[in-house]
Subunit: 292 residues, 2 copies
Amino acid sequence: MKEKMLASVEAGGTKFVCAIGDEKKNIVKTIQFPTEDPESTIKNLLDFLHPYKNKLEAISVASFGPIDIKLDSDTYGYITSTPKRHWENIDLIGPLSDAFSCPIFFTTDVNASAYGEMQARDKDNLVYYTIGTGIGGGVIINRKLLSGIGHLELGHNYLAKHPEDVNFSGVCPYHGACLEGLASGPSIEKRLGTKGENVSSDHPIWDIQAYYIAQATIQATLSYRPEVIVLGGGVMGQEHMLMRIKKHFECLLNGYVQIPKIDEYLVTPYYDNNMSATYGNFSLAQSLISEQ
Amino acid sequence: MKEKMLASVEAGGTKFVCAIGDEKKNIVKTIQFPTEDPESTIKNLLDFLHPYKNKLEAISVASFGPIDIKLDSDTYGYITSTPKRHWENIDLIGPLSDAFSCPIFFTTDVNASAYGEMQARDKDNLVYYTIGTGIGGGVIINRKLLSGIGHLELGHNYLAKHPEDVNFSGVCPYHGACLEGLASGPSIEKRLGTKGENVSSDHPIWDIQAYYIAQATIQATLSYRPEVIVLGGGVMGQEHMLMRIKKHFECLLNGYVQIPKIDEYLVTPYYDNNMSATYGNFSLAQSLISEQ
């Protein structure tokens, strides 16, 4: 009997993380390579997948964005208006479809992470945020990814300013002081002239960041009423952050709606090293097979 | 053959608007009465419905809130933590279930309006806001009402302050300067000492209100990616408001994601006098019958 394999492609702005899994979602092979120019990066991806060509049952690609996920669009499968140099209007799925005959799922990186966390935690309604170089979110409602005429862009909502941060104009090239403009990794560097990893854990900047991230979790609470909100990404690697965010969250919500216990409600990822996206991809790939 | 009838109950904080419709959703009888103490108000409701007792196939109740819509909850059908006096922890659906044997749907007032607007406009993904004494929103995704562990509370998200409004602390008893605290009707009265209907249309307050409402439509855009956002409620009765909101919306979005043409995207209700909620209720009631 033919071995059945699934492929996960996590196309990040910094690196691609790819994995081959068997039908039980055990990882049999992985690779990471930097996100360089589109041509050589996509060639690396095809080279990695090629040996599994006849075994792959489905591929799921989770990409940085914005991306075009509308199945009936002329630019379906493209990375569209990204600020990442050379990657604007790049067809990511086309070269895969040309090389592989199996079905291919295409979604945002945060959607795949949200899906993986949903599976791991067995929740029906979940929100996943990544807070790092950029900020984005994926939402699961009734065990399905939420989207409308395009994918969500939770990193670009506007927020109330922290009283000690009123003069900071933010770093988002589109919106200045939106969530990504105020709370992403680069916002710390812009304010302090050094990266977050070099800033001591008792610096007041962390409380300002936590205030903004807490507002994002308030938005998620009121806009989706999820069972759990998962906070991932580099900024959350600072272990004191989660506690700070919980404190601001409780002040800001002020008991207005019922939520689960805070320690079960605001959490960091189940999987280390963003394996949520890989396992999410495997599940999304598998869902394509069961649809057939 | 027995006549088949549907009932719509719009339980507002100021008045109840009730209607009986035939199976083609033609309105055959309506009544309005003020929202007084729960006992006499619910008695008025039961008295209105009683003559149709043997004809009613389904009832849909759309209520001010917060309300408990969790079917497995001990307080399902209750108005819960409302700031409205005497209405906290009031069982609204229980007395109806006791008196009528037909199925009863229970949702928020804005959800029923969203549902009615969806039907009228034939859209799959739609957001409806009411901006009046309070602010709330209902969301339709794939022609279904969106909820998680409870109904949405879009009126209580935090916002960036308008530069000419930084010292205003807002009127929300829970959150101060949230959307409802900054842009509801009472926020105008708190700032100016008179109701909005007495304020001239060129007063700078309208542009401040529009800035906040535009931020709400940005949140809806990024959080749901709908096909259309409908803005109803008393504040939107000011005809110049929609134009102001569109102007701020376009500045704030800054082309980040694709939306339909702005004049088809940000709109006022299809129906006058909030008939969206009545027709939405009829459709929601009908959906209970087809489920059986």
